[in-house]
Subunit: 201 residues, 2 copies
Amino acid sequence: MGKGEQTRQAILDEAFSMASCIGVGALSIGVLAERTRMSKSGLFAHFGSKEELQLAVLREAQQRFADIVLRPAFRQPRGLGRLRAIVVNWLSWTREANLPGGCVINAAAAEFDDQPGPLRDEVKNGLLALRRVLAETAAKAVETGELRPNTDVDQLAFELEGIYQVAQQSRRLLDDPHADRRALVAFDRLVADHAILREKE
Amino acid sequence: MGKGEQTRQAILDEAFSMASCIGVGALSIGVLAERTRMSKSGLFAHFGSKEELQLAVLREAQQRFADIVLRPAFRQPRGLGRLRAIVVNWLSWTREANLPGGCVINAAAAEFDDQPGPLRDEVKNGLLALRRVLAETAAKAVETGELRPNTDVDQLAFELEGIYQVAQQSRRLLDDPHADRRALVAFDRLVADHAILREKE
DNA sequence: GACACTAACGAACGATCGTTCTATAACGTA
DNA sequence: TACGTTATAGAACGATCGTTCGTTAGTGTC
């Protein structure tokens, strides 16, 4: 990795953790330069525009999400276990990644849902892709016979996303120490509703 | 209502709808003055500081929420019907209120969850109060015998909030036209899980 | 008609914003 | 060691930020 690439990654690291606290939209090149002990112009040269920097942060977030949440879960055999692994990793990924201020992606989702442009598109595509992964993982649990054949996997992905969002809000804003537990309770109930009943289990 | 109060309300109306699009944190006194055809200083005098203006917007949001979502629902007799009325009003309240850019409160929740101060406190208290209302409404449905006595009403409020959040995101960011229907499906299933079973219903 | 009070204005403040330009280091290759 | 390339710095730009100040209208009261 060349020197430039190395610096760029260091900037991105700092920007990533900053964005997690104040939001991608509130990122400031001046403050970021100060934190990385660079000049504004030197830092700026790595991205060409503020928007490009913000996009880079969003892409970085998606990549880390895939590395921390999805990839490990996919080492589980397909089925309900894999789906549950995703949820468990998902709930704790802001602690694994360098995200002192919570999930960048969901914050950006609320921030840009009304502002057309590349940033909104990036967030939208990322979340659509995630929904697809969730739905497909659920579909595999149908194949394995763990979920009922008539399960609406898109509805399931929808509800999973809801569980995640409220868990984040409860933990971060409302300081609820039981948020994760509540999220898992919700997940188990949700899955049980679509599970194929086995006697005595 | 005196002249001053009238102007202040007009400013607040505009700020409210602006905040819904760009977020409470991104409100700008200059832009707001332009939109209301006032001078920056004239507008500023009504609030004394930007933070005070932001607080006023958040309080306005909570008041409108109570007027549009809660008050009408409480005209229903206590029980599941009332709970469902809250959810239905809740899902559509951004259309009733002047909220072209979605729910201000939830956007602010994501924005300020990491920034201590009066704004975070205001949002947190508002959302805690909402959770309380939801839980108490559910508790009344236990009293009427519609929900099981051992229902965890706080867990239920938690999950309701999740359903709302993902519905917002699906509708606003992902442009999903079925978001509200999915939310109601989720609600009905959630309630059914805690309902007292009646034969043939 | 003088007076107090409120509402709004216009100008200016220092700070910070994103961005541009030019210059200077540092580095890789010959 | 010289040269081209890349990486970073420094200074300045015009714009906008929140805020302050002094002043001017409008309004009701004695």
